[in-house]
């Protein structure tokens, strides 16, 4: 019995599956878009963009819109831009690239690029690179290579980390730029006497403090140790790491209160309002300044620590790239246009167009017209070119499950909450946590 019941249920089931399938198909169509381009004439391409921020100068969002217009005009192609909030884009990158991504997408070089390349979620762009590589220096060529030696990204911009200050504040108090650790601390002492917060720091988001860790580790222990440490080839319990925390603890008394509850913008505001004398951050801090005020912003490289590694002049200078996805449903049809789009990004003129809206990010192409750069950018270009070693930033150089909020971000917050404590407990925790992570494939 129940034969008919069964068929009825079957019908229902089939109906259910059919509607789910239709639903999924509808979704993917909505996500993918349709196109029918040939390899010659104008085509369509799409880009997933994390350039969602706006600022007084227009911000990356406006820059992206300008570049899109210029690209469409130059090539006759149609470009579809899908802009997602910067942080959200980052959080969802893994599922995004596995689902129905756009043909091309904005991303970061370093471990974060190599990881997705190794997972087969990015398309190598060696042919585009071979056309444009003359427009980039060797450091960029290294930074866009995957583990397999293929090229996976086109460098779009970069920005160095340094010690930022206001010229007017330094002039007013007659401060000199410190070049070594003792001068740096003496300057902090003087600023404190003058009623300033010597060094502004805002670490609620967890990543800003990683910049100070990077530069101290680079100066004290050198590039090789730093890279090996971030890749698990050195131990967090090493006495060299202890030394980093001990040196760091010498300047933590010069930090502002409430650092663990402030966003980087609030830390920048302390500098803008002339309440703080200096801050260790990336060039993007210039976005936070009013256009009329930004000429007062200046920076100097982190002071020398008196080790043999000072000569490396190493610094964090993260590179942003434009990549090509693998699973985009439209990619095979759009391939020619998508490559044209990447090629377009490799031009200095494109990158300068972006720079006008987002001056915290320096064009990476060699033929970018440097005469349109402001003094700050020119200086930034200079210190990066002088650096013998360049790192990408902690959370771009290390594995993401270690660098994240329930990991390194927390460890540094623990350190900042009690900098004078013996770091060995913290170091043990850091190593133990590293060891608990599954092996990386």
């Amino acid at each position: 019995m129940g034969y008919l019941d069964l068929t009825r249920r079957d019908v229902l089931k089939i109906g259910g599956y059919a509607s789910v399938a239709a639903f999924l198909a509808a979704c993917s169509r909505a996500g993918g878009g349709t196109s029918s381009s040939t390899s010659s004439g104008p085509g369509t391409a799409s880009v997933g963009s994390n350039q969602s921020d706006t600022s007084a100068t227009g911000g990356p969002r406006k820059g992206m819109a300008d570049v899109t217009a210029a690209y469409q005009q130059a090539t006759g192609d149609t470009l579809k831009v899908n802009t997602v909030d910067h942080g959200t884009f980052q959080d969802q990158i893994s599922s995004y690239l596995q689902g129905t991504p756009e043909d091309t997408f904005t991303w970061f070089s370093g471990h974060r690029m190599r990881f997705f390349a190794a997972q087969g979620l990015a398309t190598p762009v060696d042919d585009v690179w071979n056309k444009v590589k003359g427009n980039f220096t060797g450091a960029f060529a290294e930074a866009v290579k995957g583990d397999d030696g293929h090229v996976y990204g086109i460098p779009v911009d970069y920005y160095p980390w340094a010690v930022f200050y206001r010229k007017s504040v330094f002039q007013q108090h007659n401060y000199q730029i410190p070049t070594n650790w003792d001068d740096f601390k003496a300057l902090c002492m003087q600023m404190k006497k003058d009623g300033l917060v010597p060094i502004a720091i805002a670490d609620k988001d967890g990543w800003p403090a990683q910049g100070t860790f990077d530069i101290l580790n680079l100066r004290l222990n050198g590039y090789d140790f730093h890279v090996n440490l971030l890749n698990g080839k050195q131990k967090w319990t090493d006495s060299k790491v202890t030394n980093v925390f001990k040196k760091w603890a010498e300047i933590t008394p010069f930090y502002n209160d409430g650092a663990a509850g402030m966003k980087w913008q609030e830390g920048a505001d302390l500098l803008i309002q002339k309440k703080a004398g200096m801050t260790v951050i990336g060039l993007f801090i210039s976005q936070q300044f009013q256009a009329s005020d930004v000429s007062d912003l200046d920076f100097f490289p982190f002071p020398a620590m008196g080790t043999q590694y000072d000569a490396e002049k190493a610094l964090d200078a993260p590179i942003d790239v434009m990549m090509m996805s693998k699973r985009s449903p439209t990619l095979s049809a759009d391939m020619a246009a998508a490559k044209r789009y990447l090629e377009f990004w490799a031009k200095g003129s494109t990158q300068v167009l972006m720079y006008h809206s987002a001056p915290g990010f320096i064009p990476a192409a060699s033929d970018a017209d440097a005469s349109s750069f402001d003094a700050l950018t020119k200086k930034a270009v200079q210190i990066v070119s002088q650096a013998k070693r360049i790192t990408q930033y902690f959370d771009r150089d290390s594995r993401p499950d270690y660098a994240g909020p329930n990991g390194m971000q927390q460890f540094l917050l623990n350190f900042l909450a009690n900098p004078s404590a013996n770091p060995s407990n913290l170091q043990n925790t850091m190593q133990q946590f590293w060891d608990s992570l599954p092996p990386e494939k």
Partner: protein, 324 residues
């Protein structure tokens, strides 16, 4: 077999069923429902059931399965991915963020149960007394409930910000240089987040309870008044017991709100530095760039098991009432 029947199942029945047993069975099949009714019923039960299975049970069971793997969320799961109970060993053994997260969820539950929920009920009882402007008060207290928790998080973030926030500036702490780091001090930021969560929770409970109070038969209160009961006695001995069904709902709502606590902590600092919750650990491990989907699923399974306790208690209570 004797009575020819008009039900559509008849021909099938005639072929398969012979003898007395079939006859008895077939007689049972007579029902008040027509074929049309049955179809409608099947659809009405079947569609929600299918959705329930596809959207809730399948992912839940899949999570349990994935929790025994080291799957990164990329590519297929192969037999190489299975790591047995390793995720659980790490979780209960060495994962330093698990115990704080569990403790914070329990504190969240205790705070809502002991402070926020009773306060919401208290407001409801006050507003039920037809005082002047009761509707204005109701609107004010209910307003936060209309806001998404994410928005509540943003609003309170602005209040709590150490240097630029309203609270520290209003208290004059920024001038004195002794600011309170509401969001960054791991000893207090959980309670700061709880105040934000309660701001919304109180209004929610108030509305639920107020609706319940309005439905209490007024003659009960009159009878209590005639018997000489004072306000307090009337509430605790008469109204409160009559409100039993609403009380259960409120308990369930409070527990659910505590277990699913996520938005505010995540908005503030992604659930770290004193704001770890089971839900933020799941997100940070499995949905973010970390790509530890297997490990994140193990935490999700723990949360599922914890959630089952109040659900089972609630259901067993409801079912006992139904059978009684």
């Amino acid at each position: 077999m004797a009575d020819p029947t008009t039900t559509p199942a008849a021909p099938v029945q005639a072929e398969t069923g012979t003898g007395a047993v079939a006859a008895v069975r077939r007689r049972r099949r007579y029902s008040l429902l027509t074929r049309h009714d049955k179809l409608i019923l099947t659809l009405m039960v079947g569609i929600p059931l299918a959705l329930d299975l596809i959207l809730i049970w399948a992912p839940a069971v899949a999570s349990v399965g994935i929790s025994f793997t080291n799957w990164s969320g990329i590519g297929p799961i192969t037999s190489d991915n299975f790591v047995g109970v390793r995720n659980y060993q790490v979780l209960f053994g060495s994962y330093i963020f698990f115990r704080p997260a569990l403790a914070h969820n329990l504190i969240w539950l205790a705070f809502l149960t002991i402070i926020a929920t009773p306060f919401g009920m208290f407001l409801a009882v006050l507003l039920d007394r037809e005082m002047r402007g009761t509707r204005i008060y109701q609107s004010i207290f209910f307003l936060p409930v209309v806001l998404a928790l994410v928005v509540v998080g943003f609003i309170w973030e602005l209040q709590y910000a150490p240097q630029e926030g309203f609270i520290n500036n209003a208290l004059g702490l920024t001038r004195g240089g002794h600011i309170i780091d509401w969001l960054g001090n791991p000893r207090i930021n959980l309670y700061a987040a709880l105040v934000a969560a309660s701001w919304r929770h109180v209004g929610y409970i108030m509305v639920l309870y107020l609706a319940g109070l309005k439905s209490v038969d007024p003659t009960l209160r009159e009878a209590a008044a005639i018997d000489g009961a004072n306000q307090r006695q009337t509430f605790f001995r008469v109204v409160f017991p009559v409100m039993a069904p609403i009380n259960v709902i409120i308990v369930v709502v409070t527990i659910i709100e505590s277990l699913r606590a996520f938005d505010i902590a995540y908005i503030i600092n992604r659930g770290k530095n004193g704001l770890e919750l089971l839900s933020t650990l799941i997100t940070n491990n499995s949905i973010s760039e970390a790509s530890l989907v297997g490990f994140g699923s193990a935490i999700a399974v723990v949360l599922l098991v914890i959630s089952l306790v109040p659900i089972i208690l609630y259901l067993s209570r409801v079912m006992r009432n139904m059978t009684a």
